[in-house]
């Protein structure tokens, strides 16, 4: 028994080391910008960089729009499929998994071919058009996560009966979705939002090929030209992603409690 627990800990320690050692090494390296001393100078240098602020702001804005558009598409779709078209669920599962199977590089070449300057809808002609395109791309990339988060949320409530209860009280479908369904799966929607945020902040392929000033492109640039700042950036973006995950965990505690059945 004790031996078994010992080996369990060994395996756990090895696994943890596999993840944590590179992170730790990167972190220590990022502190060594000044010879012989550990300082946060690399971080200060990164935060002071105007391009850092600009690209982070750009990606943050993209993330916000991707979240809004994503929720606006996925919530009604997942809701109505659960309510009326149960038989469509396997198809939905499959479609929402596609972005995980099709690499982003293919997605972006598709975008460029479809919406280039000689197409019917030449979105790539203007910066704004390209921004619209990139947000749509991000929505697609985040789709598997957003759909699963929302669908899981819908599973925790009795969608059918709650909808009928609201309907017989006079609510139309939109009203039902906004005042009854959405608030009860708000936490699930938020976790979908944070996953989207984590994806958008680190995304490189789409932004690079569409030539937009996103955070991922900036990180790559810095990585190619500097020594210590890339490590600092890596730690920062890692902290952001993990922060988002932590918030999701925390939010679960504030989910509306389902009623007792006694």
């Amino acid at each position: 028994m004790i031996a078994r627990r010992f080996w369990a800990w060994v395996v756990f320690a090895l696994g943890a080391a596999y993840f944590l050692l590179p992170l730790l090494a990167t972190f220590i390296f990022s502190l060594q910008m000044r010879r012989g001393r550990l300082t946060f100078d690399a971080y200060l240098s990164v935060f002071a960089d105007a391009r850092f602020q600009a690209t982070f702001g750009y990606s943050l804005t993209c993330a916000v729009f991707a979240i809004i558009v994503g929720v606006a598409i996925v919530l009604p779709a997942a809701y109505f499929v659960r309510l009326r078209l149960q038989w469509l669920r396997p198809l939905m599962e499959f479609i929402t998994l596609l972005p995980l199977i099709v690499p982003p590089i293919i997605l972006v070449f598709g975008h460029i071919r479809m919406f280039n300057s000689s197409s019917i809808l030449p979105l790539t002609n203007s910066a704004f058009g390209t921004d619209v395109l990139i947000v749509c791309g991000y929505v697609t990339l985040a789709l598997p996560y957003m759909y699963r988060a929302i669908d899981t949320g819908l599973r925790t409530i009795d969608v059918g009966t709650l909808t009928e209860a609201a309907t017989i009280l006079g609510a139309n479908p939109i009203r039902t979705m906004v005042s009854v369904i959405f608030p009860n799966i708000f936490v699930a929607v938020l976790s979908g939002a944070f996953l989207t945020f984590a994806i958008v902040i680190g995304e490189f392929v789409l932004a690079s090929l569409l030539n937009r000033p996103a955070f991922g492109v900036y990180m790559q640039n810095v990585g190619a030209n500097r020594a210590y700042e890339p490590s600092a950036l890596a730690i920062v973006s890692f902290a952001l992603t993990w922060g988002a995950m932590g918030v999701i965990q925390l939010l679960d505690r504030f989910a509306p409690k389902t009623a007792r059945k006694d």
Partner: protein
């Protein structure tokens, strides 16, 4: 019948070729409390959901005050509904749950608050406005659900087995409360249940359903004492079924294990020597003694069940068994097994049922 408040004409519902409601005709008066009673799967919920508008009838009509409501979506039918699973909105407190329909209807805030107060008083939960559903017991939640359904002053109330998730004691007290509130408001109510005692105790009228058909419609007293079919007789309450042999069809005499009994009716054309099933309620049979009926039968005690205020005996008369209820008498212990016993009944309490 034309002035019935709610009329159901030839209502049929099929799911993928499987017909579960088979041409139902019903008429409900304004202010009436009607129960739809029947075994699981007989189509009670389906009928209720068609009235609410959640299912579309395959054919037939539903008329409220003479007006066909089929073009109206459920949210415009002005109907209140209470569900078996309460279905309170978990994200809203009691006040917001009860006020939801009023808010949708655009009732001003102050008026809404007053109405919510009034409803909470009606259901006996004043001061519970700020509670959330998960902070309340099942019985309390169901009362809130009732208040929520009634708050917008619907023109009728539908309840689908609202008590079946609750435990026995609360079930009884809440059904009395529902009935009292219904009387006070005078609201036309359709109550779905598979519990015959529940239906008998609170309804003005009962609709007994079986496999998508209406078996009988009537007041509880009628349904119980004058069941129209064998199904109704056996589904509602306890029943004795005795097999006898016709002695003389014209004289309406039947041989019951060697004892000749005169019955009020026989199926037309029952030939002498053919078998008939006689039915009667356990309480129509008495231990012979003080007040005797016009028929007495001799048998032996086969079973004794002491139920408290009532003692149920099973008496063997040859091939037939007859159950009977006697009241507990503290000064006389119940008869012992194997004792010979004489029971009596009124031949007018015996009925011969069509199958």
């Amino acid at each position: 019948m034309a002035d019935a408040f709610l009329r159901i004409d030839n209502l049929v519902k099929s799911f993928a070729g499987n017909t579960v409601v088979k041409g139902v005709n019903l008429a409900f008066e304004k202010g009436e409390f009607v129960s739809l009673l029947g075994p699981s799967g007989c189509g009670k919920t389906t009928i209720l959901r068609m009235i609410a508008g959640f299912e579309r009838p395959t054919s037939g009509q539903i008329l409220v005050e003479g007006q066909d409501i089929s073009p109206l979506p459920p949210n415009r039918r002005k109907i209140g509904m209470v569900f078996q699973a309460y279905a309170l909105f978990p994200n809203m407190n009691v006040e917001d749950n009860v006020g939801f329909g009023l808010k949708i209807a655009g009732v001003a805030r102050d008026e809404r608050r007053a109405r919510v107060e009034e409803m909470l008083k009606l259901i006996g939960l004043p001061g519970y406005g700020k509670r959330f559903p998960f902070e309340m017991s099942g019985g309390q939640q169901q009362r809130v659900a009732l208040a929520r359904a009634l708050a917008p002053k619907p023109r009728m109330l539908l309840l689908d087995e609202p008590l079946s998730a609750l435990d026995a004691k609360i079930r009884v007290s809440l059904r009395e409360e529902i009935r009292a509130i219904q009387r006070e408001l005078g609201i036309t109510t359709v109550f779905v249940t598979h519990d015959q005692e529940e239906a008998l105790s609170i309804s003005d009228r009962i609709v007994v359903l079986s496999a998508g058909n209406v078996e009988q419609v009537g007041a509880p007293f009628e349904i119980y004492n004058k069941p129209a079919t064998r199904f109704v007789a056996t589904f509602v309450g306890q029943i004795n079924t005795l097999t006898g042999r016709v002695v003389d069809g014209a004289a309406r005499t039947v041989d019951l294990d060697g004892q000749v009994v005169h019955v009020p009716a026989l199926p037309t054309g029952a030939a002498a020597g053919s078998e008939v099933a006689l039915t009667l309620r356990p309480e129509a049979v008495r231990v012979a003694g003080a007040a005797e009926g016009d028929v007495t039968l001799d048998g032996t005690v086969a079973e004794v069940a002491f139920l408290g205020s009532v003692i149920r005996l099973k008496v063997r008369l040859g091939k037939n068994n007859i159950d009977l209820d006697t009241f507990n008498d503290p000064s006389t212990p119940p008869p012992a097994l194997g004792n010979t016993i004489r029971v009596s009944l009124n031949s007018s309490d015996v009925f011969v049922l069509a199958d």
